[in-house]
Subunit: 344 residues, 2 copies
């Protein structure tokens, strides 16, 4: 019998600044066999997320850090190859924390069987994963935008940001997106219906925000932190709401960076700043999926997926999140889908 | 007829850092006579507040800056000496923005006639002024403490902070106060019933907070900002609430200071930070006065007043707010009360 090989990226050293390939060790070992109640999954797609960077820090953030020598943690969609578990059978499409590897041996902890809907599998990393609920609840429950208000979104061409802006448009708001390439800016204004877009790499953000937000800023959905948060804070209206979804500008910081210089403005403007983590809304995901599914069907929202080919390119590919070169939800194609009609 | 003199402190230059006496010009002029619909008030007590420092900045915060040459803005309680206004008569005790001077000529804009309650007049600067509602609404509406939770207060021996801590105790919380002298710390723990107090000038704040808040921090009522906010942010529990009432550590800053280094913690801990300004609750002050009046009558809350004698000492006295040497609500006695039984 031919021995199948399981290729893995294991954490070798903790990165300083950007993740480098040498922070990982490429490891090959035979594919394991499932024991009692275990399931063997072949990974199809791996999701690359800012959270991956947080997981390889020394310090515990909201998840235990990946240990040195451990297979890199990552969320993946796969197909069950062998199952000794009553709830799963070969051929099931599943999603879970399956790691940066070809095959994962797992029990059913946090393994979800995906329904067979007429949508690409990659959508389960996006609108129907945690991206959709993050945009939906972060904007609507924390930002609480009212029709006619001005909503600013950072990392606005990203998976979460692009949904946030589109939902804000559906709610009748003026929407200004901030992103890092002209192509992304064009996509936002020409395809997604944003009122304005700012390329933070080539344009003076504060000045452009002033122009594009003539009535000030009521809601800021922030994925970035740092200088952009500071620019926004100087232009917030009384009782503005700032939903903090991420600090992508800071995840690679070697030295701790200070909070925003305009932080004091929250007093004069009675601003509410609130951090949120999407897992807090896990009981309500279906509420978001229903709304988003409806808008998708009506053609009111769009999303895009940026596929990196091959597990071997995961460590270098993840930095596309941080240099802003990804166009849409960033995923790695690990192996071929079993069904030709569900291409990611 | 003897000409009565009106002594005034007028703003001469904008202070850099702490307010200095030379930022003001001592001016003497005859007491003016009230015209049609005008009221002449003799000031009795002047309230010294962190807001005074904000008002002499160049930049508009939430009030127009005091102009150079203008009488320094200040809230005072006085007695009506002469009135050509139907709603006021000689002898009325009033409160308003009457300025750093012996006599103020005013129309009725924002002039409040004080009721004759059996409380010292100075209480109208404190519990029954804006101090009481600030503590009441800031803690209860923004901090939303639940019985059993841990509440930390900065500038905790101050006029607002000391009420906040006492209200939190009434609500069944563990209360830790931070102040700048051992005497203040003793007052909080021995007289006001706080569970613990930290002298930030002599003790390591972060370490002591860890000891005194074994279950973490659920609510922070912050009057100070800066390093103390940073220390608290590193110890907040999931879904902590931070009510930002002031940034007294920053009001004299010459260079803009950055926001808290631990700002990022608000994401992992889903923290809500909210600035508030007491004037937003003006329609609900009576709600606070009723509750506070009841607790005062039951002996459940205490407050103290620090009286500086003489208008001439206002510019030097105000810095007691910033070096923490005041013990209680800081006021200046400008002239004698007309009634011997209502001594401040």
């Amino acid at each position: 019998m031919e021995t199948k090989i399981n290729r893995q990226w294991r954490l070798a050293t903790r990165p300083t600044g950007l993740i480098k390939e040498l922070n990982f060790e490429w490891h090959e070992e035979p594919v394991p066999s499932p024991g009692k109640d275990e399931i063997l999954v072949r990974n199809l797609y791996l999701s690359l997320d800012p959270a991956n960077r947080a997981w390889v820090r020394e310090a515990k953030a909201y998840a235990t850090p990946v240990a040195i020598g451990e297979v890199m943690r990552g969320i993946a969609i796969g197909v069950v190859e062998q199952s000794h578990h009553g709830d799963f059978q070969a051929g099931d499409i599943v999603k879970g924390v399956l790691g940066w590897q070809d095959y994962a041996l797992t029990d059913d902890t946090a393994l979800t069987k995906l329904p067979t809907l007429p949508i690409p599998l990659s959508a389960y990393f996006g609108v129907f994963g945690i991206i959709g609920p993050a945009a939906y609840f972060g904007l609507l429950e924390i930002g609480k935008p009212k029709a006619g208000e001005t909503v600013v979104v950072s990392a606005a061409a990203g998976a979460v940001g692009s949904l946030v802006g589109q939902i804000a448009k559906i709610k009748g708001c003026r929407v200004v997106g901030i992103a890092g390439t002209d192509e992304k800016c064009r996509w936002m204004t020409e395809e997604l219906g944003f009122d304005a877009a700012i390329n933070y790499k080539t344009e003076p953000v504060h000045k452009r925000l002033k122009t594009h937000c003539p009535n000030g800023i009521d809601v800021f959905f922030d994925n970035v932190g740092g200088a952009i948060l500071d620019d926004v804070l100087s232009l917030i209206n009384v009782r503005a709401r700032i939903a903090i979804c991420g600090f992508i500008s800071q995840y690679n910081a070697v030295e701790p960076e200070p909070g925003p210089y305009n932080f004091r403005n929250i007093l004069a403007q009675r601003t509410r700043i609130e951090g949120f983590i999407i897992f807090d809304y896990i009981d309500r995901y279906n509420e978001a999926y229903e709304a988003l599914g409806g808008w998708l069907a009506e053609g009111k929202i769009q999303y895009r997926v940026d596929v990196i080919d091959g597990l071997e390119n995961a460590p270098s590919g993840i930095n596309k999140l941080f240099d802003g070169s990804n166009n849409g939800k960033l995923i790695v194609k690990v192996s071929e889908e079993p069904f030709s009609n569900a291409a990611g």
